[in-house]
C-alpha cells in the first residue's frame, strides 16, 4: 500500500502535472465564464493538446478544465446574469441581485468558497467509493458489461432535454456512426465504401469538436448578435463569518451534489437547484431567496460543484461515463491506451492514485485561480464574440488535424459541424449522439462476445445476479423517467 502511494506520488509530483492542472483550471474557468462557451466545448478544445502528454498529465489537464468550467459559469451569472453553464443559472438567482446591490465581489467570493469546499468533499467521496465499486466490478464478464452499458445508456434520457424520442433517435444516430469501420469479430468492411481512412472507424475527437464547438460558431453567424454587456466588479470581499454562517448549506449542497453526481445522467443543474431549494426551505432568511441572499449563492454553487468528483466514480470504477464531460474524459483515457474500469485499479493502481492526488490539488488551484484572477477572467469574458468564435474555429482545425496528422479528420469535423448545426435547428440534442457514439462499440462488442460465449443462447444476459441487478436498475430508472415525464415534471439536465 505504502509502495503504491509512493509510486503514485512520484508519478504525480512533477512540475508538468502541476502546471497542466493549473492551466486546465484557468482555461476551464475562462471557458465557463464566457457566455455561449460550454464546459464540454472547453474539454473538447483542450483534448488535442493532451495527445503528446503523459496520461496523468493529459487527464489532469482535462479534469482541471472540467472543474474550472463548473466554477467559471458562476462568474458571468453573478456579474451580468448570463450564466456560462446551465447549472450556474441557479447561482444567478441570488448572485445577480447581489451584484445589482453593489455586492458582486462578496457573491463571487462566496461562490468560490462554496465551490472549493464542495469540490473537496466530492473528491473525497471519489477516493473512498471508486475503489470499492471497482473491486465489485472485477467479477464482470461480457454479459455483465453489456447490461452495465445498457444501464449507463439510460443517461441518454437525462441529456435528451424536453423530447425523449428525439434524444433516443440521436442516440441511434450515434450508435450507427460508431459501426463505421472494420467489423469487430469477422474483420469485414462496414460502411467504408473504399475510403481506407474509415477502416479504423471515425475518431471521436473530430466528431466531438464538430458536434459541440462548430454549431456554436455557426449559430453565432446565423443569429443576430446580442449586445455584449460588460461586467462590473464591485463591493467588499466575503468574510470568514459569511462562510461560517453558510457552511451548513454548503455541506448539505455538497452531499446532494455527491449523491446526484454519482448517478449517471443527472449532472450539475438538478444538484444546484435541489441544493438551493433545500437551503431555502431550511433558511431563516427564506423570504430573501431570489432577492440577493448570500446563502442562495453558496447552496447553488455547492450543489453544482459537488457533482465534479462524484461523476468520476462510475467512470473510474466501472468505465461508464456519468455525463457528457466524463464521456469525453473516457475518450481521453482510450487515446492514451487506458481503459477505465476495475482492471485499471488492478493494472494501473499507481495511475489511479496519482489522479486522486492531482484531483485533490485541483480544489486548491480552484481557490487560488478564483481568488487571484477573478478580475482578469471577468475581463476575458468580455472579449467580443466576433473575435472569440473565429478564433475557436481555427483552434478546432488545428485540434482535429493533430489527432492522426491527417486533414481527413478536419473534413470529418466540418461535416459533423454541419450535421450538429442541422440537429440543433431541428431541436435534436447532441449529447445523446456523442454518448452513444462512445459507448456503441463497447455495447456491440460485449453483446457479440456474450452471444459467442453463450453459443447463441440469449439467456446468458440473465445468467448472473449482476445482470439481474443492472436490468433491475435499468427498468427502475426508465420507469422513474417515464413517471417523471407523465406527471409533467421535466427532468432538469445539463444537456450539454
Amino acid at each position: 500500500m505504502f509502495d503504491t502511494i509512493a509510486g503514485a506520488f512520484a508519478l504525480v509530483a512533477t512540475v508538468g502535472n502541476a502546471l497542466a492542472l493549473f492551466v486546465g483550471v484557468v482555461f476551464g474557468t475562462i471557458i465557463g465564464a464566457v457566455p455561449g462557451m460550454t464546459t464540454p466545448m472547453g474539454v473538447a478544445l483542450a483534448l488535442p493538446f493532451t495527445f503528446t502528454m503523459q496520461p496523468v498529465t493529459g487527464i489532469l489537464l482535462l479534469l482541471g478544465v472540467y472543474k474550472g468550467g463548473l466554477y467559471g459559469g458562476s462568474i458571468t451569472a453573478i456579474l451580468i446574469n448570463a450564466p456560462g453553464t446551465p447549472a450556474a443559472s441557479c447561482t444567478g438567482l441570488d448572485g445577480y441581485p447581489l451584484a445589482k446591490k453593489g455586492e458582486a465581489r462578496r457573491a463571487l467570493d462566496m461562490a468560490l468558497y462554496a465551490s472549493c469546499t464542495a469540490d473537496f468533499i466530492s473528491n473525497l467521496s471519489l477516493i473512498f467509493f471508486a475503489g470499492i465499486l471497482a473491486s465489485f466490478a472485477l467479477d464482470f464478464g461480457p454479459p455483465e458489461f453489456f447490461t452495465l452499458i445498457v444501464f449507463s445508456l439510460t443517461i441518454i434520457a437525462g441529456v435528451s432535454g424536453d423530447d425523449l424520442l428525439k434524444g433516443l433517435g440521436a442516440a441511434c444516430l450515434g450508435l450507427i456512426l460508431a459501426t463505421v469501420g472494420l467489423d469487430l469479430i469477422y474483420g469485414s468492411n462496414r460502411f467504408i465504401f473504399g475510403e481506407y481512412q474509415l477502416m479504423s472507424g471515425l475518431n471521436f475527437i473530430p466528431v466531438l469538436i464538430g458536434l459541440f464547438a462548430l454549431p456554436e460558431v455557426l449559430s453565432f453567424y446565423a443569429t443576430r448578435q446580442q449586445a455584449h454587456e460588460t461586467s462590473n466588479l464591485a463591493g467588499m470581499n466575503a468574510t470568514f463569518a459569511d462562510y461560517r454562517r453558510n457552511l451548513k448549506s454548503i455541506i448539505r449542497g455538497s452531499l446532494i451534489g455527491v449523491i446526484l453526481g454519482a448517478i449517471p445522467g443527472i449532472g450539475g443543474s438538478p444538484a444546484a437547484f435541489l441544493s438551493y431549494s433545500e437551503a431555502k426551505r431550511n433558511s431563516k432568511n427564506s423570504a430573501n431567496f431570489g432577492h440577493g441572499e448570500l446563502e442562495g449563492v453558496a447552496a447553488a454553487e455547492a450543489g453544482n460543484n459537488g457533482v465534479a468528483g462524484a461523476t468520476l466514480i462510475p467512470l473510474l470504477a466501472l468505465g461508464v461515463p456519468g455525463d457528457i464531460i466524463t464521456a469525453i474524459i473516457l475518450g481521453a483515457f482510450m487515446i492514451h491506451g487506458l481503459r477505465p474500469g476495475p482492471l485499471l485499479f488492478q493494472d494501473n493502481i499507481n495511475l489511479v492514485y496519482a489522479l486522486f492526488m492531482g484531483i485533490m490539488l485541483s480544489s486548491a488551484y480552484l481557490f487560488v485561480v478564483g481568488k487571484i484572477s477573478i478580475r482578469l477572467i471577468a475581463k476575458i469574458a468580455d472579449v467580443p464574440h466576433r473575435i472569440l468564435f473565429p478564433v475557436v474555429l481555427i483552434l478546432c482545425v488545428f485540434g482535429a488535424y493533430a489527432i492522426n496528422n491527417t486533414v481527413f479528420d478536419v473534413l470529418v469535423m466540418f461535416v459533423m459541424g454541419v450535421i450538429g448545426f442541422g440537429m440543433r435547428r431541428l431541436g435534436i440534442p447532441a449529447a445523446p449522439f456523442l454518448i452513444a457514439f462512445i459507448l456503441g462499440p463497447l455495447l456491440e462488442d460485449n453483446f457479440r462476445q456474450s452471444v459467442l460465449l453463450g453459443r447463441g443462447d440469449i439467456t446468458i444476459f440473465v445468467s448472473s445476479y449482476i445482470c439481474w441487478l443492472f436490468w433491475g436498475l435499468t427498468v427502475l430508472t426508465v420507469g422513474a423517467m417515464i413517471y417523471q415525464r407523465m406527471s409533467g415534471t421535466k427532468p432538469v439536465s445539463d444537456g450539454a
Partner: protein
C-alpha cells in the same frame, strides 16, 4: 409551438427515412457479410439493422405524435406563434459552411498557417470586426502560436504548403 411542431415533423421524417435508407441501401451496399456466420446475431449487419429499425420506429412515433398534436391544436394561434420565432440570417451560416470546405480544400495546398491566417481574418471581418489593430495581430498571432505549439512543443508535423521553405527554415 408551431415552430417546434415543424421541427418535430422534419426530425421524425429524417429519422424514418435515414433508418430505412441505411437498412435497404447502405447495409446491402456497404456491409460485407462473411460466408459462414455461426449465429444470426453475430453477423456484421445485425447490429446496424437493429439500430436503424429502432431509429425508423422512433421517427414514425415522432411523426404520429406530431400529426396528432397538429390535429388538436387550434389553427387561430398559428400566425401569432410564427411571428414569435426569432429572426435569423441563415445565409450567413451557409457562407461560413462554404468557407469551412474552402478552408479544408486549401489546408494542404497553402499550408495550415497561411490558410488559417486568411480564414481567421475573413471570419472576423464577416463577423463585423473592422479594427485593423485587432484584425492583424489576432489573425496572424493565433495561427502562428498554434503552429508553434503543435510543431515545437508537441512535435506534431503541420503541413507548411507553399510556405515550406520559410517555415521549415530551409
Amino acid at each position: 409551438m408551431q415552430n417546434q411542431l415543424r421541427q418535430n415533423i422534419i426530425a421524425g421524417a429524417v429519422y424514418l427515412l435515414f433508418g430505412l435508407f441505411v437498412i435497404f441501401v447502405l447495409i446491402p451496399l456497404g456491409v460485407d457479410e462473411p460466408a459462414n456466420v455461426e449465429h444470426a446475431a453475430l453477423a456484421p449487419s445485425y447490429w446496424p439493422k437493429i439500430i436503424c429499425s429502432a431509429l425508423a420506429a422512433l421517427g414514425l412515433a415522432i411523426l404520429v405524435r406530431s400529426m396528432l398534436q397538429l390535429k388538436k391544436r387550434p389553427s387561430t394561434t398559428a400566425h401569432k406563434e410564427v411571428e414569435q420565432v426569432p429572426e435569423t440570417t441563415m445565409w450567413r451560416a451557409v457562407v461560413v459552411v462554404v468557407g469551412y470546405f474552402l478552408l479544408y480544400a486549401l489546408l494542404e495546398k497553402l499550408g495550415f498557417v497561411l490558410a488559417t491566417v486568411i480564414a481567421l481574418a475573413l471570419l472576423m471581418l464577416f463577423a463585423g470586426e473592422r479594427r485593423v489593430k485587432i484584425l492583424l495581430p489576432v489573425s496572424l498571432g493565433v495561427p502562428v502560436a498554434l503552429y508553434l505549439f503543435f510543431t515545437k512543443a508537441a512535435s506534431i508535423p503541420i503541413p507548411n504548403g507553399i510556405l515550406e521553405t520559410i517555415l521549415s527554415g530551409g
